[in-house]
Amino acid sequence: MAVENAALKPTLLDLYRTMTRIRTFEETAHKEFLKGKMPGFLHLYSGQEAIAAGVMSVLQPDDYISSHHRGHGHLIAKGADTGRMFAELFGRVDGFCRGKGGSMHIADSSLNILGANGVVGACVHIGTGAAFACKHKHRGRVSVIFLGDAATNRGTFHEALNLAAIWDLPAVYVVENNLYGVANCQRDYMKVEVAGRAAGYGFPGVTVDGNDVAAVREAAGQAVARARAGQGPTLLDCRTWRHWGHFIGDAAAYRDPEEHKAWLKRDPLILAADLLRSEKWATQADLDRIQAEAEEEMLAALDFGKNSPLPGKEELYTHVYTG
């Protein structure tokens, strides 16, 4: 793990806390889903926490982010309330989308989150549009686009990246490269590395250890600085691994169990905890406390979400048009 100086100490502990909160949220949701309490599909972020935590740690509150179907971690890292998140997952009226969106469309617009999205690759255009707005209206802000590796095969990815390049847009494309689409391994659907795709559009593509939160923070910091300085977009190819199947219910039988085991050893939480302890920046007791706090938070959040009322039938008809 690349650690430059002790200035990382307070930051790393914060990042560890964010990652722990994301993991605990996902584990809590997982359990509820298996009890049959949650409708729809749930794509868990477990295993990819270092990316959301690391990238968001270099953003300002009014920077934009766009997300995809695996989006819970992005909300938590940007500061969304976990109680309202659970309410959304249960389809309740206190959810950010009043229960109309669910996990795949979860969004808190007050944090300039332009939404999780059910259509793979849609976020690339949306986030590039937000980068356009940052350049022309909200000077100094940046737009970060989170997408999966398999989403880089959508036409939207290629059209948007080219546009962002020729217009020097303040966009950062963060590919959460977990090496799989649904069941297809990356080597079966692309012949190049994700990072290499940026060269085709004329801007930097950087490969990052996506399970090393300090490395993600470092790379994201540089990319965001470039964007803010008007030097155009960057693509980050963050290598990672989802701990579960594509969604809950997918056993991920298509993955090599040995590879899975090896990746679990590189769990981003374990890596960060190891560093915190070895640098003596935190004791095991500190880490345990962070875990306990996260568990307490998620219990309360779950309770809030579950007890929020279902939307009334009239809600079906509202928000089709505005004004």
Binding site: G40, G91, H105, R154
Partner: protein
């Protein structure tokens, strides 16, 4: 021919296998249709196993899936491609609308596009706004494209075989809530003709015109109405384009009352087309205003409380019929 009991997904798979055996130009491709067996499990019923070289996984590239099918079909093949959710079909709308559907016409009959796009439509899984739509009306507005929408395993198999053999591009719409529906299906080769409706239940008091999952809701409603002494006729269109106008008009000649039922949103829905045919060509047959029972003009919401409100069900159909009969 002996019958076997199989579900709708298996029936679709059976059609694919039979046609792939019969015609080496039939290829299947789409996202995760290979070893994984398809996200709804269709190609997992032995299609990939039997034809590993002709059932191909694609990247997440809907535009390319439909667009290359156009070119492959024009160059002599018979691709039967899959778009996982119908909500993603608009991603490939240039390819379907401007290319596939127009090839034969705009080149003055020189070329043809014998291709099938299979896709899953419909709500009911808590899958929310991007994975639940019924967009069939959008397709019916494109001359040159046929739109097929079976409600039973029997029709799914017979109509898919017909669709693959058809020399025109065909959109083949499978309702995701029907995949596990079981039914009797003849073993081996048979076809169900494109453009022929199926009279699912005879009646004298009212005609329920429907398709896809709503056929089952209408049959439930007809059972309910029977208890009140109302004999409802249930007509499953099975194909929207071409539409079996005669079947609609023949039924109206018997019942003189029309209720149209679809899951899709009301406004601009295919029900309007059916109503226009009935009003224009069956005016003298009608004893009452035409009624449409359809989804509301909203996106499909996530919350189960709201999705249930969105979906047309038997009680709503019964209420509409009662309202009509007074």
């Amino acid at each position: 021919m002996a019958n076997i009991t199989m579900n709708y997904a298996e029936a679709v798979a059976d059609a694919l296998k039979l046609e792939m055996r019969r015609d080496p130009d039939v290829y299947v491709y789409g996202e995760d249709v290979g070893k994984f067996g398809g996200s709804f499990g269709v190609t997992g019923y032995g299609v990939f196993e039997e034809f590993p070289d002709r059932v191909l996984d694609t990247p997440i590239s809907e535009t390319a899936i439909v667009g290359t099918a156009v070119g492959a079909a024009a160059a002599g093949m018979r691709p039967c491609v899959e778009i996982l959710f119908m909500d993603f079909l608009p991603i490939a709308m240039d390819e379907l609308c401007n290319q596939a559907a127009k090839f034969h016409y705009m080149f003055g009959g020189q070329m043809k596009c014998p291709m099938v796009v299979r896709t899953a439509l419909g709500a009911g899984m808590g899958a929310a706004a991007h994975h639940s739509q019924s967009l069939e009306a959008m397709l019916c507005h494109i001359p040159g494209l046929k739109t097929v929408i079976p409600a039973t395993p029997y029709d799914a198999k017979g109509l898919l075989i017909s669709s693959i053999r058809d020399d025109n591009p065909v959109a083949f719409l499978e309702h995701k809530m029907l995949y596990s529906l079981k039914g009797e299906v003849p073993e081996g080769d048979y076809t169900v003709p494109i453009g022929k409706a199926d009279l699912k239940r005879e009646g004298t008091d009212v005609t329920l015109v429907c398709y896809s999952s709503m056929v089952h809701r209408c049959l439930e409603a007809a059972d309910g109405l029977e208890k009140d002494g109302v004999h409802a006729e249930v007509l499953d269109l099975r194909t929207l384009i071409p539409m079996d106008k005669d079947a609609i008009l023949n039924s109206l000649a018997k019942t003189h009352r029309l209720v149209i039922v679809h899951e899709a949103c009301l406004t601009g829905g295919f029900g309007g087309e059916i109503a226009a045919i009935a009003a224009g060509e069956g005016f003298d047959l009608l004893d009452a205003p035409i009624v449409r029972v359809a989804g509301p003009d909203t996106p499909v919401p996530f919350s189960p409380a709201l999705e249930a409100e969105f979906l047309v069900n038997a009680p709503r159909i019964i209420a509409a019929v009662r309202g009509l009969l007074g």
